[in-house]
């Protein structure tokens, strides 16, 4: 396992390096710079120039890049340009919220995907199948930003059982926080759950038709056990790979959901930082997301090997 990780390390680092370069370069290509925004709506060129100077934006690009990477390697990302505060604090806060949301969404994704998949694959009864199909289709067909607004309208405005948005912090009040988390996590999870559920259902159907399930059936193993113990582990590996890719989506794709639920996560931070051209924040944040994605990929590889014993010996 460690060997596997070590083997993948250089190329992971390469991805990170390339990513840092790309991020830096693309950001400079984007028109508008932080100084303009910092100067405010009615600024004069003089104000802009003063601010550019203050931010060190007059330096050559390579120097700026080197400074950035140097600061990062020293573990001190420095202050943000536009948003205010230290980059590490900003990202730290956002990361907490995002991880919480992602985990919540992951939970729902897995739970719903299992539900959709298992019901879809095993139910012989027409109505149940139809209901599952209708649900998955609805989850696929209604865009998340509409789902989000609808969820809020129903549960927060109409029924008033859940808060409309915002976040307290898991450690301040866990019981309340869970209620804050419920809607955004659900909203974020629905499309992924529908896709994964469909793949899982397919995989289960396929696995249930395999010879080894026949073997177990012939030995008198109960249907429930056939499903969970024999078919599921075989249907899981491709779903896990997909889930790994979805984690990337959940992490970065949360921009919309975070906005709808006023969830102060990385997605919001990224959008804000980008619209305000807060170079350090955007750069560090994107690099972090890339790193997390790469890590998640490595982890799914490992998980995959755990699920399928044949892979271990390769």
């Amino acid at each position: 396992m460690t060997r596997h990780l070590l083997k993948k390390l250089p190329s992971a680092l390469l991805v990170l390096f390339l990513a840092s370069f790309l991020i830096f370069a693309i950001l400079r290509l984007v028109p508008g710079d932080p100084a303009d925004l910092l100067a405010g709506p009615d600024a004069s060129q003089a104000s802009v120039a003063a601010i550019r100077d203050q931010l060190g934006m007059d330096e050559p690009l390579l120097t700026q890049y080197a400074t950035w990477i140097g600061d990062l390697l020293r573990g001190d990302p420095g202050p943000s340009y536009a948003i205010g505060g230290e980059v590490s604090d900003l990202i730290g806060d956002g990361l907490g919220a995002t991880v919480e949301l992602t985990l919540g969404a992951l939970f729902f994704t897995v739970a719903l995907a299992l539900l959709f998949g298992v019901l879809g694959a095993t139910s012989r009864r027409g109505p149940v199948r139809a209901a599952v199909r209708a649900l998955t289709t609805a989850a696929l067909a209604v865009p998340p930003f509409v789902t989000g607004v609808l969820l809020v309208l129903v549960f927060a405005v109409g029924l008033r059982v859940l808060p409309a948005g915002g976040r307290i912090g898991l450690f301040d009040a866990p019981d309340l926080e869970l209620q804050y988390l419920l809607l955004p996590a659900l909203c974020l999870a629905l499309p992924s759950a529908a896709v994964l559920g469909r793949y899982l259902g397919d995989g289960l159907e396929r696995a249930l038709a395999e010879d080894y399930v026949r073997t177990a059936t012939a030995a008198g193993v109960a249907p429930r056990r056939l499903l969970w113990r024999h078919a599921l582990p075989n249907a899981l590996p491709p779903v896990v790979t997909l889930l790994g890719m979805q984690v990337g989506h959940l992490l970065g794709g949360a921009v919309l959901v975070e906005a709808i639920f006023a969830w102060p996560g990385l997605g919001q931070l990224a959008e804000q930082a980008l619209t305000r051209r807060d170079y350090p924040v955007v750069q560090d944040l994107l690099l972090l997301l890339v790193a997390v994605f790469v890590l998640v990929q490595l982890l799914t590889d490992l998980l995959y090997a755990l699920l399928d014993p044949r892979i271990r010996w390769e």
Partner: protein, 493 residues
């Protein structure tokens, strides 16, 4: 425990004194813009004070300055300051703090819109700790705008202030915490110089970047107060008995069509006037602003000294006249013109309306949306497309401020690239007089209005009203002329 009732309980149980007020904002607090008037300056009057306070008629009332004496020649003003004021950290407020405040605003990196006015202050003469004479280079008609605008911050911690780590002021609330992207939290200043004020224990400015999220937060009772619900969203709240909606008719901004006067065909005045006749301002107010605004051809809100009904209705929706003018001007209309606008929903709607109206008189345009940052870049560097849609502020105070401080109208350098001796003269004339009111002053203002309307390099569409949406249980919030929030007298029941 329910997250919903926990929050409602806190709000409902509050007696007259106490309680926590949550304000919904749509732009995060930006410490770097602390000295600039931006879309989010609510905390300025919560943490800090200003020297004076304008009433609706722009008459100054004492705040940190108890009285003032503007010299007859307009070259100096003597301020008497309160002597019972301390900063949150316990330090006494003195004349030096005012000196610092003025000097601070002059710095370009502070980007203060009233920097021009601040720069007319060329000297200080302290008379004791609480009396100060400001020497002026020349008389200015908007001196009190500066005093309304300029927050008195702690001169020793200004670097921390613009980083948002320490905000030390004399205001009713102390800075507690700022979580970027989430909220700015303030607690009651128990040693506020107005006795028994404020009523509220704490204030939170919570960020909702998505208008729908802000609306939901209000409707679900999570947020008590907001000034940033868009007109479109307000319709949903109008029938809701839990809210009071208050429209400030002083106006806190305006939307306009700008024209680059060096780009054909906008270099033709007739063309620009045709545009001014072509747009349907009432529709802009109704459909884009949700009815919360005043259709107006001139930038002035009703409360402005420069306001007149004639100015407001100088241009009305008259496509016939517009076509006629266009024809008379002889500019070709076969080219499609770029019409820039920021990607915000409001400006997009307005751009769509304007585009359609222009099409009716035969001017074809293509919308060129830019995200706010790129738009800002173009705005400042003066590289705007032939026509564009945007908003401006600073018409709600002394008219001279608009022409000196608001970039679109700046006589020396503006986005449109417009400049003329007449305009420069009119603006300087209006600014360099001591008296902001009176018949003579009005005549000077009218000259500016006439020029603006006739040249039409900025075609104003509508004056936006600040709209305050407050939960029923909240009483007494007030917005200053520069959209600073004043909660001195606010309380929750």
């Amino acid at each position: 425990r329910s997250a919903v009732s926990a929050q409602e309980g806190a709000a409902a149980a509050g007696p007259k004194r106490g309680g926590k007020l949550t304000i919904g904002i749509n732009q995060d607090f930006t410490p770097a813009l602390l000295y600039t008037q931006s879309g989010e300056s609510f905390q300025n009057r919560l943490i800090y004070n200003t020297l004076i306070r304008y009433d609706d008629q722009l008459k100054p009332h004492p705040e940190l300055a108890t009285s003032w004496e503007y010299a007859a020649d307009g070259k100096s003003i003597t301020l008497t300051l309160r002597d019972d004021v301390t900063y949150h950290d316990g330090r006494k407020f003195t004349a030096d703090d005012v000196v610092f405040a003025v000097e601070n605003l002059k710095k370009p990196e502070r980007s203060a819109q009233l920097a021009a006015t601040a720069r007319t202050v060329t000297g200080f003469e302290k008379r004791g700790e609480h009396e100060l004479v400001l020497k002026l280079a020349h008389p200015v008609s908007n001196l009190f705008d500066l005093f309304e605008f300029m927050i008195i911050t702690d001169r020793h911690t200004v670097d921390e202030a613009v980083k948002g780590t320490k905000l030390n002021g004399t205001g009713p609330f102390r800075f507690k915490e700022w979580r970027p992207g989430t909220a700015l939290t303030l607690t009651r200043n128990d040693t506020y110089w107005i006795p028994d004020r404020p009523y509220l224990d704490s204030v939170e400015l919570r960020l909702y970047t998505q208008p729908d999220a802000l609306l939901s937060a209000l409707r679900s009772g999570q947020v008590h107060l907001s000034y940033q619900v868009s007109g479109k969203h307000l319709a949903t709240l109008q029938s809701n008995a839990n809210f009071t909606i208050k429209k400030y008719n002083t106006g806190n901004g305006a939307v306009y069509v700008g024209a680059s006067v060096h780009e054909a065909p906008a270099d033709s005045r007739e063309f620009r006037q045709a545009v001014a006749w072509a747009v349907d301002r009432d529709r802009v107010v109704k459909q884009a602003l949700g009815g919360y605004g005043l259709a107006s051809a001139a930038p002035w809100p009703r409360s402005s000294p420069a306001y007149s009904e004639a100015n407001r209705t100088h241009y009305t929706h008259d496509p016939g006249k517009a076509r006629q003018l266009l024809k008379a001007s002889g500019v070709p209309t076969k080219h499609t013109l770029p019409l820039g606008h920021p990607t915000t929903p409001l400006h997009t709607s307005i751009a769509e309306i304007v585009q359609y109206d222009l099409q009716q008189i035969g001017i074809r345009t293509e919308l060129q949306p830019s995200d706010p940052a790129s738009f800002q870049k173009k705005l400042i560097s003066g590289t705007m497309p032939t026509l564009w849609i945007n908003g401006h502020g600073f018409a709600q105070v002394q008219p001279a401020t608009l022409a000196v401080s608001a970039y679109p109208f700046n006589e020396a350098k503006n986005t449109s690239g417009y400049g003329s001796d007449a305009y420069t003269e009119a603006v300087q004339d209006a600014w360099r007089h001591k008296d902001p009111t009176g018949a003579k002053a009005l005549a000077r203002y009218q000259k500016i209005s006439d020029l603006l309307l006739d040249e039409a390099f900025i075609v104003d569409l509508a004056v936006q009203s600040a709209v305050q949406v407050a939960a029923k249980e909240l009483h007494g919030p007030r917005l200053t002329k520069f959209s600073y929030l004043d909660l001195d007298d606010a309380y929750l029941v």
